[in-house]
Symmetry: C2
Amino acid sequence: MLNSCTTAGSIKKMSTRPNDVNCNSEGIVTGSVKIIIFEYVVIMKGKKFDKKQYTSEDIAVLAGVSQATVSRVLSGGANVSEKKRKKVLEVAAKFNYQPNAHARSLITKKTGIIGIVMRNIRDPFYSAVLEIFYNRLAPLGYHLIFINSENEIIQEHEIVKLVQYNVQGVIVSDAVLSPEAERQFERNDISVVLFNRYEKNSKCSAVFCDNYLAAKQIALYLLKMKHNSFAFIGGSLNTSITKDRLKGFEEVLKENGITKFIVQTGNYTYEGGFKATQELLTEHRDIDCIFCVNDITAIGAIDAISTIGLKIPDDVSVFGFDNIRPSGWAPYQLTTWEQPLEDMVTSTVNIVLENINNPSADRKILRMNGQMIVRKTVRSKK
Amino acid sequence: MLNSCTTAGSIKKMSTRPNDVNCNSEGIVTGSVKIIIFEYVVIMKGKKFDKKQYTSEDIAVLAGVSQATVSRVLSGGANVSEKKRKKVLEVAAKFNYQPNAHARSLITKKTGIIGIVMRNIRDPFYSAVLEIFYNRLAPLGYHLIFINSENEIIQEHEIVKLVQYNVQGVIVSDAVLSPEAERQFERNDISVVLFNRYEKNSKCSAVFCDNYLAAKQIALYLLKMKHNSFAFIGGSLNTSITKDRLKGFEEVLKENGITKFIVQTGNYTYEGGFKATQELLTEHRDIDCIFCVNDITAIGAIDAISTIGLKIPDDVSVFGFDNIRPSGWAPYQLTTWEQPLEDMVTSTVNIVLENINNPSADRKILRMNGQMIVRKTVRSKK
DNA sequence: TATTTTATTGAATACGTATTCAATAATTTG
DNA sequence: CAAATTATTGAATACGTATTCAATAAAATA
């Protein structure tokens, strides 16, 4: 038997090629050219075709065609006779051939990789964001390299690998890029879409909720419910989210002659919301209404309020933003503003895809609307 | 001026090479060989060095060395004279050269990519898992391709891209692989570590909490607190987590002569826990103690219990597993079992790295301990 | 049937890097 | 100073694929 041979060795392309090599149902190579059989059997070491990473060259030899034909079958599939196509596919399947994506991308300049840069992945809003992005992009053949950052402003060193991997696009969620990072992408013609952020001094596209308008509507609603003393718990004051939500909110309050308005700074986390609320209510017992920049902050606020011993919404109303799942949980029942998450992701993906097809496409800024979700943390009237 | 030239064109390697080409402080190339200057200026179109993705070949020309030397400087750095090294680094920095990771990996067979396959990324436990894995692996130069799945058993088509990208290792969290998927990885010498799962009929390494032992301790604790009628809300019965936690729990109950023990099936989610608890308490009002397979299920259970109007822990005690952050939130104060998350990740990373260095390393099965976190959802006595 | 058109194919090449190998330069040793 | 090491370098090559180009085979047209 041929497979009693024990010498190991690697496959080299033969200078003389068989016209035809067949594989029987056991997966053992048979055919008219012994040297080929010999070499492949040696590799297999009795494990059939496992433990060997086949190349298109190998498949070509085993199918009795040229490497070019194998490539044609497995990439586009154009211009190959039905007979050879079948043969190639058969051999490829039998030997479980998987093309090398790196070699492929070297030629095509298409890596099929998209970078996703995230902060606060522990915030349920952003876990959802990641999940939805994956579910949208994977069926299109794009895969995600995940980058986690702790910084509001993403630094160049955090994303340089994305450049080296030639990602075809980048999604930055809940953060912005440093000028150096942005230039790095720009130089390499990698388009970036900011998700849930907006930066004036940037050339990046951006998809976000119209925070300014939403905040105005929220303020109007809270006024309608006869609140008098307002507070806002934001994130960092130089993020567009906090700036815009604060601006819209404050404008409406001023227009309506509200004088009592305290702005407290959190950091978009539960802990931040909890602490900010404690401080807020210690100094300003008369606050009867808190607008939180996002739900996770609001949940922290709610817990702080009840820890102090105040009642929601009788003593203090709380309004959130995002409509994450925990906001609907029984103890919270948070009244909030729902971001149109699915639509935002869809739009972002569309921009990314458009930039891939047309690298000189214009920057796009998309403001989406969302809607108010009324639950039980804002009193009805007084 | 040289840059008044408007013809565009791509850079070709010159057959005759300059001995030295300098870049002045403006970033404009100067030197003794005009043809080189010409070509590079043409490319730049007056935008200095933007909008051009340089290759090591380009840097070589601009630094007056061979491509091999550039490669030596930027990869290992061995065996290059200090003078040329400096020159190369200077030019590379000035032109913002980034080596192509795909071309590199084609040679080195090291992609620097690790696949992470996740389910339930919306569960705070797994968001944390992802964050920690990133934070551990990125400093080591490894990057993550993120795969999301809805399946308990990961199918081949979901992970085939990981094979094509030649990932150097795979972490599968909260799921197992189908035999075909596992073989796919095995054939390609890609080692897999199951995280928080264990599968007997698999050759994959695994890192998980000793669920059996933990469940026994939990049962003992609940017995000590004088509970009589027990329930367990698990996930799917063919996952190791549910099986082992159930087994340990049930064994102790039996040893202690407990006859009232109801097993209800959830799906590791809030909604699953909520619904299972509703059903459970409708049929079995006498249950005074529920052990939930994980915290998010337990939180759903707590909400269901209080929705029904029962008191925790006076009427019903709830015990969780994981110690996710929301378990510590004010309304929940869930008594639970903390998984040693950081240690589990560290161990997993170590196994992955070991497998990279030694592909024939043995399968490793790591059971970690964790600890009980006593809060307020289990009554003290009765 | 002769001629033109189209389909199919393989050889050669390109992608951008790391590495081998041989040649040369620099240094050390005697 | 001569000989032997060692350090440095560039040319050539390999990695695994897609694609161009030229050649051949097949089909369609006259």
